[in-house]
């Protein structure tokens, strides 16, 4: 994988183990990069295959992998913290809309 990360995104294929990076994280990362690269995801039983066609050379497979990790960590945190996060968001939005709660 180190080799894959060093080169640009121009013709990359990445295999991401589902135990480490869930499908949702890969999908969200692909959305973030969709303005800069053509990304195809082929979900599999044990791993996702990601095909990346870059539109510019300043992006690397490493950038994409870091974004997948970013999204995965968000998902991990949500499993533990969604109640507190939800309380704050609910309160903020209700107050701004002029409702008590």
């Amino acid at each position: 994988m180190g080799d894959k990360m060093k080169t640009s995104l121009s013709e990359k294929k990445l295999i991401l183990d589902n135990r480490i990076y869930c499908g949702e994280a890969v999908k969200l990362a692909a959305f973030v990069f969709s303005g800069r690269a053509d990304i195809q995801i082929k979900p599999g039983k044990s791993a996702s295959q990601v095909l990346i066609g870059a539109r510019s050379s300043d992006l690397t497979a490493g950038d994409f992998m870091n974004e997948v990790l970013n999204q995965q960590c968000r998902i991990d945190l949500a499993k533990k913290n969604s109640k507190i996060a939800g309380i704050i968001v609910t309160k903020a939005l209700l107050s701004a809309a002029g409702k008590k709660g």
Binding site: N66, R74, L77, N81, A85, I88, A92, L93, S95, A96
Partner: protein
């Protein structure tokens, strides 16, 4: 290892893990918690606290217990009250309403983020009907106090509408049952005595930009007349004189000034602060530049990274503290706002550093055509062709619709520090905030990627500086005075 040492228990240990966040700075640990309390601990004591192993006999026990760092000594009422006070904004809607009177400007500042148009381009002027409708909209906010801030471009270029909006807002506030504050952000180059008189009689507080001594200010803030600095200084002095001669009919507020730090500012912290002091200005807001709007295009020329800004900020604060010790009154605005949270455990109203951020729910930007945005930075993104931060229009959308717009909700969700992996764990979480607009512009998503986010680096630098200065009793005494009411 620290954890193995702390496993040894005495008879009177608390043995329940406390809720703490921490950051190692140098050889010490800074502890914080949800209520905003903090403590500095040596490694040994840090290990004891985080293992729940501190006994009542320990010299720091009482202090840490009062601050909520000892789990079975928590005063729930006290900690709840403190959390509520520090997060009071969660109970209110938008308090700041930014009316963009025009995108025309007679300056071409290097770092301009407001997408200023040329002086002749009147189609970007807000008309009176839109201004009045915007004022009406602002009064829909459930916030008991609202501030209407007139900005641009250069708002004085649209003087008649500005005047009409001020009159309308003052009249409306008589019956609306809200406290109304009015503010104008202007480069002052088009100010006249007649305009000044009107503004002061209507209690409009005045703010301008002052980047430092003439050569630096005029380098950053290019004006066709070449007199940006002279005009700014002339009117600062005028308003200061008027402030000294208060009358009974209306209050005159001291004029204030903002500093925007460009790459050219970095070697000149002393000269900049001396300029503010020489003009009798008591507050200086050392604002970092953000690569948003047109500033992005020139980032290579005028930009810098978080480490450069942190160094500049530390030198600036050190110099200001030195001046304070000599009896000079000068405070740094960012520090004052952060210290209000750290020392007074209260909300200073700083929309950029709160959870969730102030986008839409704390402030609204009203564009010249009545379009509403989550904030002024969001409006700038809109000007560049991407309306992701647009939340409605004053003529077409109700207040409730705007507050439940997709962009409103997504900004609230993405700036919630409890949902950001790095921020949820950070010792600075009680004092900090993220900016979805920055994240979107610089990192391609509203959530951003915080470990490599330079804005995070900037705030960490500022907070590292403040907490480290607070360790010294002499500095702490001065800094705490800055926020003593």
């Amino acid at each position: 290892m620290a954890q193995k040492t702390a496993a040894k228990k005495s008879k009177k240990t608390t043995s329940v893990l406390p809720q703490v966040l921490w950051r190692k700075i140098g050889a010490s640990y800074l502890l914080t918690n949800d209520s905003g309390h903090y403590a500095w601990l040596k490694e040994k004591d840090f290990a004891l606290v985080t293992a729940g192993g501190m006994t009542e006999l320990h010299p720091l026990f009482s202090e840490l217990a009062v601050k909520g760092f000892i789990r079975n000594r928590l005063d729930f009422n006290d900690l709840a009250a403190k959390w509520k006070k520090k997060n009071a904004y969660l109970n209110y809607g938008p308090g700041l309403h930014i009316l963009v009177m025009t995108l025309r400007c007679n300056h071409k500042c290097l770092y301009c983020q407001s997408s200023a148009a040329g002086v002749g381009d009147k189609k970007t002027d807000m008309n009176l009907a839109t201004a009045r409708k915007s004022v009406d909209f602002a009064f829909n906010s459930p916030n008991p106090g609202i501030t209407i801030e007139f900005q641009g471009g250069e708002p004085l270029l649209n003087w008649e509408v500005l005047k009409g909006a001020v009159e309308y807002a003052r009249k409306k506030s008589g019956t609306a049952g809200k406290e109304l504050k009015l503010a104008l952000v202007s480069n002052f180059s088009l100010m006249t005595e007649e305009k000044a008189d009107f503004l002061l009689k209507n209690e409009v507080s005045l703010c301008t930009s002052l980047d430092g001594p003439k050569n630096l200010h005029d380098k950053n803030r290019i004006c066709s007349s070449g007199n940006s600095h002279s005009d700014t200084v002339k009117w600062i002095k005028y308003f200061q004189k008027r402030c000294k001669k208060q009358v009974t009919e209306y209050r005159v507020f001291k004029p204030s000034a903002l500093l925007t730090v460009s790459k050219y500012s970095l070697p000149l912290h002393k000269e900049i602060i001396d300029e503010y002091v020489s003009l009798g200005l008591e507050d200086i807001f050392v604002r970092p530049l953000a690569p948003i709007g047109y500033a992005r295009k020139l980032w290579g020329t005028i930009g810098y990274d978080a480490a450069d800004f942190a160094a500049f900020y530390l030198k600036s604060l050190d110099y200001m503290l030195k001046l304070n010790r000599q009896g000079v009154v000068i405070r740094e605005k960012m520090a004052t706002m952060m210290l209000d949270k750290i020392v007074n455990l209260q909300d200073p109203g700083y929309l950029d550093a709160r959870c969730p951020c102030g986008a839409a729910i704390g402030q609204i930007a009203y564009n010249h055509n009545g379009d509403l945005y989550t904030c002024d930075e969001g409006r700038m993104v809109g000007w560049e062709g991407d309306d992701i931060f647009r939340i409605g229009n004053v003529f077409k959308d109700s207040y409730k619709k705007v507050m439940t717009a997709p962009a409103t909700k997504v900004c609230v969700v993405s700036s919630n520090l409890e949902a950001q992996p790095a921020c949820a764990r950070c010792a600075y979480k009680p004092y900090c905030g993220v900016c979805p607009v920055y994240n979107y512009e610089v990192q391609g998503s509203l959530w951003g990627n915080i470990p490599s986010n330079d804005r995070c680096g900037l705030f960490k630098g500022i907070l590292d500086t403040l907490f480290t200065l607070l360790k010294s009793p002499g500095n702490a005494e001065i800094l705490k005075k800055w926020v003593t009411k």
